[in-house]
Amino acid sequence: MSALRIGSFLYSVLRLSTPLIFAALSAAICEKAGLFNMAAESMMLWGALIGVMVNGWTGSVWLGFLGGCCAGVVTGLLIALATVKGKADLMLAQIAINLASSGGTIFMLYVVTGDKSTSAMTIKSQSLPKIALPFLKNVPVIGRMLNNQNLLTYGAILAAILLMIFIKRSRTGVHIRAVGENPNAAESVGISVSKTYFLTWAISGLLGGIGGVFMSMGYTSAFTKNMVAGRGYIGLCASSMVRGNPIGAMLCAMVFGVSDAIANQLQLTNAPVDLVMMLPYAVTIIVLIIISVIKIRTHVRKIKNKASQVKDQPGILPAGLSLSLDSLYGIASGPCSAAAAGGSSV
């Protein structure tokens, strides 16, 4: 394969990864706060629709971007309101909001434009600009890959780095992590758990909203019904694999971007389209299983080490192997509970 073709393949990987990265970051901040974000899907859908609408009304692509961000934040805050203030079950609330958003965005599109499937014919909206990096023009592969990407593709990488710094080093970030691991500990030193949850959902919504804006004002230039198509869930998987580490979540999202890009390439060949469309989701399941197996293996090794340490002490039997099976199941039962089980078993 020529350098040019590799370059353009990687270009499309980055482009396709962008919404996945935002979704992954949206899930990552929630994971750090001990929350399970299934609603990135909704945040993105509303971000995509409102972005296009505001852009169409005002004629400004930047106001459209801002509108999309706000829509994401509002969606996040709605979940916080329902679950923190209203004490609703987190999973059920998110399922409800996902179903409501899927129908709600189409309804709003219909009310505003009279069209039930796309805004392409009725709303005049633009795309966010692509950025030319002339100095990269002559670098092989890298130049083709990085040059002329959408503004938000660079934004996604920047967002991952900023989120990392925020979580690791800022006071609020430290508090979010403390709440995520041991809410009682946080509460006991005066950190308000419910305020932290609200803030987390707002940031998560912002990131999801930007991901949505990219879908309708970067990846394409109009809103189409259900255009997010499961990207929120793929982002959630990416984040779960690395326990919410933002940089890791970004890299995982890029792995899924690769499978997306391969699927796109295969569509040009004679391969059956439906099968190819399935590829990114099938990859998700396979990667999740592999990660889970690795986690269980390392956990078993840790227990064995502990057991042999205990064995070395006179008078104490090597117990703990059978006892720790429960915590093992804790890991196997869900990527999100793994962090919790790991934390509490100490």
């Binding site: 710094i165 080093r169 800022s170 006071r171 430290v174 508090h175 992590r177 403390a178 691991e181 041991n182 009682n184 500990a185 946080a186 006991s188 030193v189 005066g190 950190i191 205990v310 008078g315 104490i316 039997l317 117990a319 703990g320 059978s322 006892l323 720790s324 934390g343 509490s344 100490v346």
Partner: protein, 514 residues
Amino acid sequence: MEALKMENITKIYPNGFVANKGITFSVQEGEIHALVGENGAGKTTLMKVLFGMEQPQEGRIYVGGKQVKITSPLDAIAKGVGMVHQHFMLVPSMTVAQNVTLGIEPRKHGLVDNEACVKMTQQLSDKYQFGLDATATVSELSVGLMQKVEILKALARGAKVLILDEPTAVLTPQETKELFEQLKLLKKSGHSVIFISHKLEEVMELCDNVTILRHGYCNGSYPISELDERKLSRLMVGRDVILKIEKPDPKPGKPVLEVKNLEKLSDEGKVVLDHISFTIREGEVLGIAGVEGNGQNYLSDCISGMQKYDGGDVLLNGKSISGRKISDIRRSGMSHIPEDRMTVGCVSTMSIMDNVMADRFDRPENMKGIFLDQQKAIAQTDALIKEFEISCDDRSEEIRLLSGGNIQKVVVAREFTSGANFVLANQPTRGVDVGTAEMIRKYLVRQVREKQIASLLISADLNEVLEVSDRLLVIRQGKIVAAFSKASMVSEDELGEYMLGIKTMTPDEMEGLL
């Protein structure tokens, strides 16, 4: 100078339980003050009041001579009262420094100044010789070190009075020794420590003064120098009302339950049952007395099959229970009145009838084809409701709507009619009203005598173990430390001395009594 004074504190819970009644005690600056008493004596409630987690009905609190009202734990911290909980409030993946400075992090350029956090924590740790590495991750520390992080957390927030709630319960002997050294150092620097414990030797070694609580009342404050362990144990342990149960002498038959060299390790690898052996015969009640948390629940769980044991064996009617399903163990003669009736004893959202039938719905005599024989189930349930005087609307009432005593009656009714010849009763009358408790005790004794079944009674209630049991064992730190052939002949003072570790019987003395 007086660092803290609690005056005339009375706390009555909404269900009418009097946890504290008119308690007064004070702590001086640079003093380690012990707060002792049996479980349920009101220590924890009193400290919850002091730490702002509960509001008392009556009484005043003075900190540093000024009367204060403590409304929340945060308020308590702001007023210089810190608490080290039994369950640590730490964030495991963070470092020692991050945990100590959580919520009060120093900042530089808008970001958390990690260097300053580490410096501040290290200085504090060095000052009190805690020997902690501020950059270590908390999840990798031993329990003893985690406890020190908790103490540092309180000190970093300016605590002058430290409450330690049974701090040595989770520590090894070496760690305990270290902790005492550090507490003495804190005392020298003018801090006051309230040390909650029921380990007498620790109180005698560490503390300056002691306040004794008994059944919610204050049984006096004394300087340690005026007391010895025996006096202290008499002040702590005692019966308010002596209960008498008339019962004929036992006629023990063949062995039903044999526990042989039973060993058990906790999840943390600590030995919680240490070579326990005893035999219970037909027609007798064996009582196990002891301060709570000395292995009673592990013993109950191992015998009932709820947990696996790590060594030795339990034989029920001559067959080992090891590796068998609980349903199988029950079918071969076990019935079990668990300590926690709401989670283990019953299904709170199901009806009385469903709960009664829970262990017998699949027996052929209760079936009609593949379905439960409704007529039989109704007849059995109604008979039990009548016999045990369970006050309820009818058999289909959800069990959680009944009072605690009536729920316990349902559990007891089921367990005594399951056809088993061994009844394991773990705290069978905890938290139930006096009338029901008496009824359950008398029923237990009558069943054992009339039907020649065997019973193991685990209880922290002295009245109960002394009156209901025929023979009596005392458990401490997972070991049997005393055995008596006639429970009714044992005095409570003597029992208290064994429970609290002042005296221990040798294996020879216990020979033939197990």
